[in-house]
Symmetry: D4
Subunit: 158 residues, 8 copies
């Protein structure tokens, strides 16, 4: 039974969202992946979001671009934490996606990450899960230690 | 049986949206008005949009601000023309509302008007209806003639 | 006699606007296509817009880029619904086109779609026509059903 | 017979545009002032612009806000130099006005000044006229000398 | 022992951040509140963030404006989920705050909410905690039910 | 003796500015071309601008990018009309160039054209000169007639 | 003999720039204050900048708004470090000022601070001077210690 | 013992920052270069910044992109002048980097240069050092003289 639901508005978003899946895999976190379009499959979206919690999902990661309604609509249909990934859009480079996702009104928050930040969405999901699953805290500690060492060992050809 | 459904995401949008209603009234076009929140009443929104056409509605005007999902979501649940009114938002003055409404992906268009352009949304609805109801064409002609004469009779204290 | 007039400010816009024509064709909606430049052929634009309704046109789709005046000027010369397509511009990626089209003053609305959203402009025209031509409602239902099924059958290589 | 035509899209623009008139007056340059709306009186605009040169006008100053089409459309209907004044708009503070005026395509230039820069529009008109009317060159020299002295005599209470 | 740490870069942010505290109180979630400035007390920030987890904090809400570094820096010093609240800034209305908070690089995510969205930050913290504390899920259900009923009972004076 | 001075801040701007020269040539208008950098040759700029009028120059076209100070500084040193061309910049696509040129304070106007609009700068110079040199009015009439016919004869492969 | 030259493009900038002077005073750093307009007194600006170093000035702080050319032009006329303060502008809130000041081309840097950041401009001048005048390093240490203590002693009425 | 510390948030910034190093080399200014990540090595950043002054560093140049916290955080941990270089970011072209660096609150200034302006950061560092090291003033004079001559000798193929 997966802990994280990774959804996206279009198959073309997969290019970005698969990076989230790669991070989840590397931390050993179970997940499911689906295309769920707010605009083309609104009723499937309602069903997906409303049943997610009872199916065992604990965090939803939703990626969408342009007039990006999937993360906010999903958050309106569940009480789970929903992480929104603004997918870079063709003409406005994701500024429209970012504002459509982050500027949610009172009552329905979306945890928004950077434009194209699917990997960080996964890391945020893992941080959230880590308050419940202690092994993830340790894996996060190691991940941050590795990042640190990676930087400290960098040499530049000055 | 109303021809135009005027909906908005929040009671606070009424300040703007009532201007649309005033225009509809002045053209003698029947309408209904409702608060339908994409985020707080998503299932009511689904029901409203899916039944609108069968209830006789021919055009929907939807106003929303910030991460403004109501117009696009409504458009995804009906085949009627949906007009989106970007409500001015507190910090970004409606630029977020505009992008959230207008940047819809292929398949689900929203006829977007100016930020705060509720009156023009009503006029657009009337133009749409005028292709079917010939009396509206005449009223529009008169409206545009009146506007023209209003401008031509303006005097400036230079 | 065509129902939809598809016009654009420059031959170079045809790259985008032909997508609108493709959608109209696929729905069996009659149309005409013309280059009508607000700035280079202002008087032809006046004539085109003023006679459109009497020639049987019921919706006009107008694409333009940069200081995009064609949609708004056309709307000022007819009572038909006018749909504006902001063409992506070289340096500002169509943000200038979008604002020039959507921010119309009271009295003359333009139904604006996304930057580069010519296909959605056609779908919006079809939604508008569907309030009068019932076969289009059915075609739209089928179109949306097809879109839905297309999404539902998507598989991702996770 | 006035040398400068000062036009504006709406009576509400007069608040800004009267500053242009004040500058023209102070330089003793003849002018006429009119509300000419691109959207509400498109045919009057065509007539105004097409006859301006033959009536003796040598520079046109056109102010407009939002989807500001008046300067560019006027420029498309005359060979006179047209100066565009972006009027501050309610929600976007004139950024829409600026882009709608300045981003003109090849063939039809508009000499754009700052948002709300009506006074500078008048000064630009006077600079243009000064290549033909030598007394204006002298008045401009004096104007710039006065500005300089005004700055040099400023004292600050530090 | 508080579950949520609410921190902010400046005492002037308290005007916004107290709304987060009000929401936490209404859900009966324990919290602590502190001014922790990334720029004026960087070492205290390091200490606060590094010890938060061991002191029992499970979610951190960090508000900051302008070049808003507190949420991201805090996230770099803990493995807890950190929620960032972009505080509206004087000249850029919080667009700078938003970009400074949300555009985090790979490795260190911040769960960003809307500009001025302190209340939603609290709700997001509660959603996160609800995956571990089941009573919060029920309270969230009730909260969303109340919001829905609030909208459905709205009447407009049309 | 040239009538138009074409200057630019950097040799790299020549790629854009040569288009202005091509237009001037095609209208038979005499010109001179120089690299005059506000930042690297400020004193040469002062000398160039202050002597331009006495050397017979009647219009100056100045192109610059980024923090584009050349057009405004030149205008502060002459009473001639100065046309500013915002050169597209590497990271902000000329939005910085545009604002640096157009947002001049009261007293010193710059006639700003579109980002990258060197050709229109030349046409604007010609319109300005046409109030004094009647042959240019005729050439402009022909130019606009040619543009019109070019559009009217366009055929699209619909 | 003053160490810091504080200049501004207009008397109206003094409202902001006096805050820089207050900070310089509180650190006991000598200064001079002048209105030096790039556009209205370009030759005085040249003289001021070219003689600053020989008169003993070691840092120049220049404030300007809109098409803000003073900081960059001053930097082009001296080898001293020049700090630019973007003054908030009426319609674009200083975004134009910021880009006009910071986006300088290779060769002539301006040390830009925040929009309206006159106080920080003074602090930056003091940091620069502190590499030469050791008493300023101590005063800066005390200033930062005081800021820290001010934050640490803040209490919130939660 | 180096006078200038050149640091950057990521190895990928080196592509830009090496240009700063090249300029420092050409002026014979000693420097050190390091990757110091605010987010991945926050404690190393604290140590680096706090010890820089005592190790003889007199100016720090810090480059970072996106939510660019390195320059501001470094400035909060030292009294040295810190120069910030906004690195162009993938989706927002460095506008996020610029705002994250320049919009610092009162108390902690960062001397910000243009997006991608690493070379100017080095020149600014040299201007700062020149108030103490007189040979650098002479080298700057020569540098500016060379730039001037380079422009004056440019020829264009008009």
């Amino acid at each position: 039974m997966p802990l994280v639901g990774v959804i996206m508005g279009s198959k073309s978003d997969w290019e970005y969202m698969k990076e989230a899946v790669d991070v989840l895999k590397s931390f050993g976190v179970s997940y499911e992946v689906k295309v769920v379009s707010a605009h083309r499959t609104p009723e499937f979206m309602v069903e997906y979001a409303k049943t997610a919690r009872s199916r065992g999902i604990e965090v939803i990661i939703a990626g969408a671009g342009g007039a990006a309604h999937l993360p906010g609509m999903t958050a309106s249909l569940t009480t789970l934490p929903v992480i929104g990934v603004p997918i870079p859009s063709k003409n406005l480079n994701g500024l429209d996606s970012l504002l459509s996702i982050v500027q949610m009104p009172y009552g329905v928050p979306v945890a928004t990450v950077a434009i194209g930040g699917a990997k960080n969405a996964a890391l945020l999901a893992i941080r959230i899960l880590s308050i419940k699953y202690k092994d993830l805290e340790e894996k996060l500690n190691k991940f941050m230690e590795d990042m640190k060492n990676d930087v400290l060992s960098t040499s530049l050809q000055a």
